[in-house]
């Protein structure tokens, strides 16, 4: 039925071709109409800044004036970016592959919980994850404070923040779920009879695993590895917040060159290198994707309790390890935000350790009395405002496009990839483009866009838009015309048809897209760190700022804010999962 539906649609234009030539111009304009907003918006705030970056980075004068020091920065950050991403990917595979087998092959108590737990970090803002890791392993974290207390040490014994290990660990924490999903799915769809055939042909267990199981999984492992590599390559918040000043990837270098050294040409050049790399990786990835489905066999594998002692041991050890690895940073954060474990800055005499709400009540006080240090609760307010604007903006722009995409024509197929381009550009590059493109007065007035908070929801909208469209489009496309026709034949007016047939599905998808945009905006860190005005900080920016300041109270407030952010985003993730239509896209 579906086939002839498509057939009919494909045939329709052919039949009308004769009259087409007359009204071609009008038809094109009509089909372009839903795209108008998006084209204007992305043109102004994405493509124009991109061209600007190209010009700033590659104009002959800038290239000639490039210093030896800049070249050194470029070389070293590029090498380090590849190095840390490669290492992170290997480590992620080292944990992810056994975990993929664990989830795909075995049944064990707490499996669903553990699966959810491993998937949560992927959607959490980087500042939350960074704060979680410092709460666990940082100089003021649980581990160090406990060790200092037990052994009466003056300085924290475990040095975690500011090491390569911290960056790698956080990357593994973030991206293991990708390997579990992609490779785990491939394992679950492996035809068990292939392994049985190999056994009956004389393959012993090691050779069976190498020649058959692993060989069949190779495309999906490669795809997962490449995707993880892309995420590690473009990682910003983790490297900046956990790596400290000693480590600089391309993303971090773009940020520091632009914001600290005001060296825009170098920042632009780094951006272009970054863009070129991610472009190559993305093309490679899209080439790999068709190979990931190894066999069209339905789920034939029987998921069972692990047989035998050695497998039971494997399942027990790995599941307990994963549980601790994911639970500790996520739980250390909220607990730490309610516990006083050290003296606040300037606090003398008797300190009361233990449960406290101080960190939360301090969020409402402007202690520094400076316009650049607004009280944290204002940052919460700002973030909510930005997120609200992002939701409105991305829905206004995304809804017409998603509707057009739900009934694609030739034109829409051409425009579709254009929409997804912003996904390929990193958030930091996006921010850089905006600040170098809008740093001069507009239209002869005094108004400079960069000095206003307007660019923040604009940047967030560019990032959220692909997700919003990808959430709306399948839902809108899923409404079969037959239902509308059935309702119409039964006597419903077009308006009634829309309310009876479209509205229930559209409402759900719209809510889901809105929550998506809201959550993305709330946690966005990369673009914000360049675009946000210091007097209107967002929550993640404020958390990063408080994390880097000395004093127990500042740290406690960072913990409190990160906890709030974590729970709000967690709620968002949960809502999206609940609202997700079966079969709607992931990632």
């Amino acid at each position: 039925m579906k086939a002839d539906f498509h057939q009919a649609r494909r045939d329709a234009p052919a039949g009308r071709r004769a009259s087409d030539s007359v009204s071609t111009g009008r038809a094109v304009w009509k089909s372009l109409l839903p795209w108008l907003g998006v084209i204007l918006f992305l043109g102004l705030f994405f493509f124009y800044p991109l061209v600007h970056i190209l010009w700033v980075g590659l104009n002959p004068a800038a290239l000639l004036a490039i210093s030896a020091n800049s070249l050194l920065v470029i070389r070293e950050t590029t090498i380090f970016t590849f190095y840390q991403a490669g290492l992170s990917t290997l480590l992620t595979l080292a944990l992810g592959l056994p975990a993929a087998f664990l989830f795909a092959r075995y049944d064990f108590p707490g499996k669903r919980l553990l699966r959810t737990l491993t998937a949560i970090p992927f959607m959490l803002p980087t500042v939350v994850v960074a704060a979680g890791f410092t709460a666990c392993l940082g100089p003021r974290g649980w581990l160090n404070l406990a060790l200092m207390h037990i052994f009466r040490l003056a300085t924290p014994p475990v040095i975690f923040t500011g090491t390569l290990g911290a960056i790698l660990l956080a990357h593994v924490f973030y991206n293991t779920t990708i390997v579990i999903r992609i490779v785990g799915n491939a394992i679950a769809h492996l035809d068990p009879r292939l392994e049985q055939a190999a056994r009956s042909l004389g393959a012993d267990p090691p050779r069976l695993f190498w020649h058959v199981t692993l060989a069949l999984l190779r495309p999906s492992i490669l795809a997962a590895a490449l995707l993880v590599f892309i995420f590690d390559f473009t990682s910003f918040g983790v490297v900046l917040l956990l790596g400290g000043p000693g480590f600089s990837t391309l993303e971090v270098a773009i940020y520091t060159q632009a914001m600290a050294f005001l060296n825009m040409p170098l920042a632009a050049l780094l951006s272009l290198i970054q863009l070129a790399c991610t472009l190559v990786f993305s093309i490679l990835y899209s080439r790999l994707i068709p190979g990931t489905v190894v066999s069209i066999a339905p789920r034939l594998n029987i998921v069972a309790r692990p047989p035998g002692l050695s497998r039971r041991l494997f399942v027990a050890c790995l599941s307990v390890f994963l549980f601790l690895f994911y639970l500790l940073p996520l739980s250390a954060l909220p607990i730490r935000s309610f516990l006083r474990l050290e003296a606040d800055e300037g606090q003398r005499g008797q300190i009361r350790y233990g449960l406290t709400g101080d960190y939360y009540s301090a969020l409402f006080v402007n202690r520094n009395n400076s316009i650049f240090y607004v009280p944290p609760f204002e940052a919460i307010g700002n973030s909510l405002g930005y997120a609200g604007l992002t939701v409105i903006l991305s829905l206004l722009l995304g809804f017409p496009v998603a509707t057009a995409l739900a009934h694609p024509g030739r034109l829409t197929r051409l425009l579709d990839p254009l929409l997804m381009l912003p996904l390929g550009a990193s958030a930091v590059t996006l921010g850089l483009g905006l600040i170098i493109s809008f740093n001069h007065p507009l239209f002869g007035s005094q108004f400079v866009l960069v000095t206003s908070p307007v660019l923040v929801p604009v940047a967030h909208t560019i990032i959220a838009l692909p997700f919003v469209i990808r959430t709306l489009q399948p839902a809108l496309a899923s409404i079969p015309d037959r239902l509308r026709q059935a309702a119409a034949v039964l006597g419903a007016s077009p308006r009634r048809v829309w309310f009876a047939v479209d509205w229930p599905i559209v409402a759900r998808a719209t809510l889901s897209a809105a929550v998506f945009a809201f959550t993305i905006s709330l946690g966005e860190f990369g673009a914000s760190s360049l675009v946000v005005r210091p007097e209107y900080p967002t929550l993640p920016i404020a958390i990063a700022r408080f994390l880097s300041q000395p004093g127990g109270l500042n740290y406690g407030q960072a913990m409190a804010m990160a906890t709030i952010l974590m729970f709000v985003c967690g709620l968002g993730i949960l809502l999206i999962e609940r609202l997700r239509l079966p079969g709607a896209g992931e990632f």
């Binding site: 292939l194 055939a197 056994r199 009956s200 012993d204 058959v212 060989a215 069949l216």
Partner: protein, 343 residues
């Protein structure tokens, strides 16, 4: 020369007994067909013999030696799967060479044996093709070549032709028959299709409710299915429920039938009467009421090549050389070897 012996196998699946006390043996050059309805446990039996599953009780022996401790990859038994289970990441040649590689043969030896076996199944020019590009029949030949290549001690087939269309099945059946006869490898062939079983088997075993209910040469089994279930399953003919009468004849809904030479059943006993459709002769309606005659109204006539399938009211069918008219009243005289009494 090896010989397989199965002793008293028991196996249950999700609480129901799948195999209850299976015992049989396969001689050195013999092709044995296991014939049973789907779900009768015949695939499970093969997988137990292959070592892919374990039985709860009983033994699988090769030349008198129990194989319980020998894992699947060291049994040297070939298995052809229902949907072939070809390795999708390998070419035709690599698939067939897999077992040879596992034997640890030299490259030259593998090459030689590979082309030999591919030639046997007419696939030599397919060597470098991907298996995903092949048609069903070609895939089936690759699967056969792959199982044959390492010279297995025993070859097992799990409904290998089930997924193919009719004409291709007939052709492959012929090829298989020839291959089994020329190679003289002991083989177990599992199927639910009686046509395949009768064509390929030296010996047939009927599997029902986890037990072997009948075993013998194809002709023996056709001549005497042994039970009403087997006769129905093999589609030997019409089966009527009847009651034994004191004079030794049996009364059914279609008439009273006499069985000369049959030991008399106790009167009132329920028995089944098998009426083979080929042993009937049309007589004039005046002959109605004669012993072993049968009268009915024709409800359907189906052309069946050299003859006609004539269906009478009550779903009784017969093969007659001449067609009859639908609605016509027909009297048939049954020859005594068309009649059989089954318990």
């Amino acid at each position: 020369m090896g010989m397989l012996e199965i002793r008293d196998l028991y196996k249950s699946y999700e609480g129901t007994m799948l195999l209850r006390g299976i015992s049989f043996s396969v001689a050195a050059t013999e092709t044995v067909c296991l014939l049973g309805a789907s779900g009768s446990g015949k695939s499970t039996l093969l997988r137990i013999i292959a070592g892919l599953e374990t039985a709860e009780q009983g033994q699988v022996c090769w030349d008198g030696e129990d194989l319980a401790a020998i894992p699947a990859h060291r049994r040297g038994f070939g298995l052809v799967f229902q949907d072939y289970a070809l390795f999708p990441h390998m070419t035709v040649g690599e698939n067939v060479a897999f077992g040879l590689k596992m034997l640890g043969l030299s490259r030259a030896e593998i090459e030689a044996r590979l082309s030999g076996v591919l030639e046997k199944v007419n696939l030599l020019h397919f060597m470098d093709r991907r298996v995903t590009e092949l048609s069903g029949g070609e895939q089936q030949r690759v699967a056969l070549a792959r199982a044959l290549a390492p010279n297995p001690n025993l070859l097992m087939f799990d409904e290998p032709l089930g997924a193919l269309d009719r004409s291709l099945r007939e052709q492959l059946m012929e090829e298989l028959r020839e291959l089994l006869h020329t190679n003289r490898i002991p083989a177990i062939y599992v199927t639910h299709d009686q046509e395949e079983a009768f064509k390929l088997a030296d010996r047939i075993m009927l599997l029902h409710n986890g037990e072997i209910v009948r075993e013998g040469l194809p002709a023996e089994i056709w001549a005497d299915p042994g039970s009403a279930w087997a006769a129905r399953f093999l589609d030997v003919g019409n089966i009527l429920e009847g009651t034994a009468r004191p004079d030794g004849s049996i009364e059914t809904a279609a008439g009273i039938f006499h069985f000369p030479g049959l030991p008399a059943q106790p009167a009132g006993d329920k028995v089944n009467v098998l009426i083979r459709p080929a042993g009937a002769r049309r007589v004039s309606n005046a002959g109605a009421g004669q012993p072993n005659s049968l009268t009915g109204v024709v409800t359907d006539v189906v052309f069946a090549h050299e003859r006609f399938k004539v269906v009478l009211a009550g779903h009784l069918y017969f093969y007659l050389p001449e067609p009859a008219q639908i609605g016509e009243r027909l009297t048939l005289q049954l020859s005594s070897n068309a009649l059989q009494c089954l318990t």
